[in-house]
Subunit: 332 residues, 2 copies
């Protein structure tokens, strides 16, 4: 591989090493590195290498406690409460996966509620891993304020991802992973950098009026997918991920991106369901039937298919990394 | 009250009486009547009186088994499997509510999976009743084919409602209730009747091309809210409501509206969560905090507020019913 291409193992070592030098335990650094490299491999760069320096700065400042070990309370055979203790989200998510993988096949359904957490990265990854174990899984996460209630002007919801995964027999799971804003904030940042206008329907200015000015949009709020219905879904996720878990709401959460202020303290709620216990022995075959109804249509595909193709390529050919970014990470 | 206005009790008696004359047991007729009158009271006419003659025709034809009693299997302390036995959905939904109200406060989370079901009516009502008992609740339902996979042209998803309710201290719960199509099919039917064009973005024709022709739209598929993200959500609901429960997928389900063909056999999945077990004693106060962040903004309101106002009015003033519709129901 060329100098600017790393194998996945090399990439993980690079990221973990950098975080270990920035007040993070080796175990936590390894989990963070796994998550960021997996995002990069899936082509989801916003959750990949680009996060390393920001995470490191937050760990150094104590905004993220890099040494925190999540505490798990088994409230019932179907419910685990997890306190991320203002550490990275990834150790708490790993604890949630372990709790759900154990409980869901016994109870049919199980829940893991994470509080005092941080950026969950690719929301589809924890649910995909649960689906790899044969479970159907849901993840709801809240994020710092980005969207106003319908008719309002002040952000009280994050872009609040919903992720869902469902196993299929003898192939990769179906994975749905979407945030509830119409477009990612990165698109507006890019427009401002280029001095371009943004399309109507992406954002509101600080007075709650539609705007095509990127700077005004960044000072205002993002618009949800599907208008009023989208804000209703964002409210639902806010209540599931932060309301139920006792975490900070979007409006009370500091940024995931910089090292200023108190920890964001957001939340994640995961639910896992056992297909065989709910639908009986033929459950996986029944899932496949719907997958076939979709794939048999010209032009249609299952969500998640693109990620899997990119992931295979990254595994075979390694990950490209910009020399400047690599140098920045190595210099940490 | 005037001749064309009925108290809620009179309206329920009218609807229940009509169904009892059409091969439906008194107990089931009472549950159906409660559901349709509650929909009408909330201003949701598409799920109200307008359904009576269609339900009655299906019960008479045996497409709905009006005498079916749902069977409940308690698979685990957190999971109930419910077979609606091709009866009305409402008795199965009532059984699901009872199972969840008992299990969720003990286990923290509980699931009820309904198969061989029918039209669930106002998806927000079962979850609202669970929230009235202090639980957070979700309902996912699939419906006959209406939407194509993104990039495809054949309907494989219903308009697939998602409903969510969350209790608040000393006031009515927050209720989110939305279907995943951009607009209700009724809007397209109305445009065709008036001979009007429909806006772009509502529907595709049978070849998967955008159309503004109402007739072509009715022969094609509905578009989801939020484009590709909306179809991803519809796929999620299809897998939760029909995939997990073993129910018929949208493409295999007959119409909820006419008496032709086999029973639709669709499914519903309900999940209830106990706020105190997950978030601790202060959970309801924490929910209120988000409600206040929304209500304090000029122009913003909590979803469900309009329904509650209409419901109070209907309780006080009764329900108007068109004389022709009333005569039709009485003649059944």
């Amino acid at each position: 591989m060329s100098a600017n291409t790393l194998s996945l193992a090399e990439a993980e070592a690079l990221v973990a090493g950098a975080l270990e030098r920035c007040r993070t335990s080796p175990a936590n650094a390894a989990l963070v590195a796994r998550a960021l490299v997996a995002a990069e491999a899936d082509g989801l760069r916003g959750h990949g290498f680009s996060r390393v320096t920001s995470y490191a700065a937050q760990a150094r400042a104590g905004k993220i406690d890099g040494f925190a070990e999540p505490s798990v309370t088994h409230v019932s055979p179907a419910l685990a409460r997890i306190d991320a203790r203002h550490g990275f989200a990834y150790p708490a998510l790993a604890a949630a996966e372990a709790a759900l993988a154990e409980a869901a096949p016994i109870m049919g359904i199980a829940c893991a509620a994470i509080t005092r957490s941080h950026h969950c990265g690719v929301a589809g990854h924890p649910v995909e891993r649960l689906a790899d174990r044969g479970l159907v899984a849901l993840l709801f996460a809240n994020t710092p304020a980005a969207m106003a209630p319908w008719g309002g002007r002040t952000g009280v919801f994050g872009t609040n991802p919903i992720a869902f995964a469902c196993p299929l027999p003898d192939e990769a799971p179906i994975v749905v992973d979407l945030s509830l804003s119409k477009v990612a904030r990165g698109n507006i940042l890019a427009a401002r950098q280029k001095g371009e206008a943004i399309p109507e329907g992406w954002a509101l200015d600080r007075d709650g009026r539609p705007t095509t000015d990127a700077a005004a949009a960044l000072a205002g709020t993002m618009l949800p997918l599907g208008d009023a219905k989208g804000t209703a879904l964002a409210l639902m996720v806010e209540l599931l991920a932060a309301g139920l878990t006792g975490a900070n709401y979007a409006a009370d959460a500091s940024s995931f991106l910089d090292d200023r202020g108190a920890p964001p303290g957001t939340g994640q709620l995961l639910i896992a369901l056992d297909p065989a216990m709910i639908g009986g022995k033929g459950a996986l075959q029944h899932f496949r039937r719907l997958a076939e109804q979709i794939r048999s249509q010209e032009g249609a595909r299952l969500p998640g298919a693109r990620r899997i193709a990119l992931r295979a390529k990254a595994k075979a050919e390694g990950l490209a990394i910009a020399p400047a970014l690599r140098a920045e990470i190595e210099a940490l």
